[in-house]
């Protein structure tokens, strides 16, 4: 049993080598291995189905290249299609014409929102902005304190009028929508040009909390709503991305915990389901671990493409 795409493809290539033209059967064989690789990388099943169909169509219609053998040709097609889907138009954070620019963070529990709030604020501060953080998660124990610590590390002001759930307050104090609204006033008064709102983690099926997120959005009219999603997520990426897109509506995606060894097929799934751009990758627990998203690297990662490309060179 071959385990990696590289291993499996190289056995497929053995059969393909020396042929001048790609037959439908050849394409099917390669496509099967690629399907398996995508599934192992947690790409959503409907996205895999659609993707493979597209690749097959393109491969069949393709003129035979002089330089590449048929197997190489299919892999090239796969890689370019993946990059295209993941990339699309890349863009920076939308800045408001009339500051403050408002950035709201949403996502499932534990996705990495509060950590990202710290990272983004540090990053924007380094770019010459004066960001302020708003602590609108009053529910998860000590979420406010966690944001305050991150803000302190980044050297940015944290607006936290309510401590939220903590040892002293068993029940949530204050209302997240109200905190977000008054935070906007505070930011204007203090002349911050960027506001980042940290919100509680919530499930796609939690109607009440989804409504709350939607209310925060309505009250603050954000320039960006960033959906933070864990790179380790599996097939649930589809239902979750859909629920957040319909429930709150987001403008961009941040893929977190990219410092791990998950292949991160969710990137493809979320893009496929929502069409929203993946803007950043979160790559560690410290505030500096944050980068702009690279579609080409992600395509290689999902398919184990680094190895595959060297394989092509050998073939």
């Amino acid at each position: 049993m071959f385990n990696t795409l590289t291993e499996r493809l190289s056995s497929t290539f053995k059969n393909l080598r020396g042929k001048g033209r790609l037959t439908e059967a050849d394409i099917d064989a390669t496509a099967r291995e690629i399907r398996r690789a995508l599934l192992d990388a947690d790409v959503a099943v409907p996205a895999v189905r659609q993707f493979i169909k597209q690749v097959k169509e393109r491969a069949l219609g393709q003129e035979v290249s002089e330089a590449l053998n048929p197997g190489q040709q299919v892999v090239k097609i796969v890689q370019s299609e993946l990059e295209e889907i993941l990339g699309g138009e890349t863009r920076k954070i939308n800045l408001a014409k009339n500051p403050p620019t408002v950035i709201m963070l949403v996502g499932l529990q534990g996705a990495g929102k509060t950590t990202l709030a710290g990272k983004l604020s540090q990053h924007l501060k380094q770019e010459g902005h004066a960001p302020m953080l708003i602590a609108a998660d009053l529910q998860r124990p000590n979420a406010v304190k966690q944001l305050q610590v991150n803000g302190e590390r980044a050297g940015v002001h944290v607006y936290a009028p309510h401590p939220g759930v903590s040892s002293e307050h068993e029940d949530p104090t204050g209302d997240p929508v109200e905190v977000a609204t008054s935070g906007m006033e505070e930011a204007k008064k203090r002349q911050h040009d960027i506001v980042i709102i940290d919100t509680a983690g919530r499930l796609g099926v939690d109607q009440e909390l989804m409504q709350q997120a939607s209310d925060i959005r309505a009250a603050t009219n954000p320039d960006e709503v960033l959906f933070v999603i864990d790179a380790m997520i599996g097939q649930d990426a589809v239902a979750t991305a859909q629920a957040f897109n319909e429930g709150v509506g987001f403008t961009g995606v941040v893929l977190s915990k990219m410092d791990g060894d998950a292949r991160g097929g969710a990137a493809l799934s979320v893009k496929y389901i929502t069409g929203k751009p993946i803007m950043f990758a979160s790559t560690g627990e410290s505030l500096k671990d944050f980068e702009v998203f690279h579609p080409d690297r992600m395509a290689s990662r999902i398919l184990d493409m680094g190895d595959v490309m060297s394989l092509i060179e050998q073939a």
């Binding site: 947690d42 189905r49 529990q109 998860r140 124990p141 000590n142 040892s167 997520i233 649930d236």
Partner: protein
């Protein structure tokens, strides 16, 4: 929208036909894949079903559905020992460590578990061995107060986690506690230095008392990476049980099937929410029924 019902299109269409079409089996396989079961188990199940449908010559949807349910339950193995080691041993408290990657629900699970144990009249102490993440010790202390137990923690940020765990067990011994629950920092299994640190936390703790239970927390939304997590954590600290959290969402947690099969480590508990009472024992049949439900 989402269609996790294995029989939504696949088998019904299949059984209406005389010829069993490869595409139809593919669809069934896809439906299994959608619960994060993983390619190997899904393919294996479909092969077995194919075989049984041929051998037993059945064409009845209900029968095939029942077959699939049976096969899945067998795969999840209802016979595994899922009890928790939570009683004093050798005149010392039972020590449990909770481990896992970042953000899966370790601290919350410690809180919930303490609640269950307290309800059974056991005396519990918490150890805040996550000295790394912002406000992690505060979070655990809040949980401790919520369920009425003490938390041993260090006042210094970045203190040695092993020595906090050591002190917690020491206090548990002095206080004659029944159980000491040690919360640890989230860490990615791919980071060798952090896994080494975790090994040290366990070794140092065991200078006080045996760590009888190492619970690995897996988030139900986790995809195929969960298997790598389980392998590496098991190598580092010999995991004795899995806690599958966040099953209150839409994720099915199918990856635990492969984890149990490959590593022989049973899922012992499930997390069903953010509240103190949202913890339940794992039940193979209920898990499979949820997996098959749309």
């Amino acid at each position: 929208a989402k269609s996790n019902n294995v029989f939504s299109k696949g088998l019904l269409a299949l059984l209406a036909q005389d010829d069993i079409d490869e595409d139809v089996w593919d669809e069934i396989e896809e439906n299994l894949l959608m619960s994060d079961l993983g390619a190997d188990p899904a393919m294996e199940l479909v092969e077995r079903l194919k075989e049984r449908v041929t051998v037993e010559g059945t064409r009845d949807t209900e029968t095939v559905r029942e077959m699939l349910r049976e096969e899945l339950i067998a795969m999840v193995d209802p016979e595994m020992d899922r009890r928790l080691a939570a009683t004093r041993k050798d005149d010392k408290p039972a020590v449990m460590m909770v481990v896992g990657v970042n953000g899966v629900g370790k601290t919350t699970t410690v809180g919930k578990l303490a609640r269950v144990l307290v309800a059974e009249d056991r005396k519990v102490i918490l150890g805040a061995a996550d000295t790394f993440r912002a406000a992690a010790a505060e979070q655990l202390t809040t949980w401790g107060e919520r369920v009425g137990v003490n938390t041993v923690r260090s006042d210094q940020e970045g203190a040695d986690p092993a020595s906090v765990a050591f002190s917690a067990v020491e206090e548990g011994i002095n206080e004659e506690s029944d159980v000491v629950l040690v919360d640890t920092a989230g860490r990615l299994h791919s980071k060798a230095n952090l896994m080494e640190e975790l090994g040290k936390v366990k070794r140092v703790t065991e200078k006080q008392a045996e760590v009888g239970e190492v619970l690995l927390v897996i988030d139900a939304t986790t995809g195929q990476n969960g298997l790598a997590q389980a392998k590496v954590f098991t190598e580092a600290v010999n995991v004795t049980g899995i806690v599958l959290t966040k099953l209150d969402g839409t994720a099915k947690g199918g990856i635990v099937v492969a984890i149990q099969r490959q590593l022989g480590v049973p899922v012992k508990l499930i997390g069903l929410g953010e509240g103190a009472d949202d913890l339940a024992p794992f039940e193979a049949e209920a898990f499979v029924d949820a997996l098959l439900a749309s």
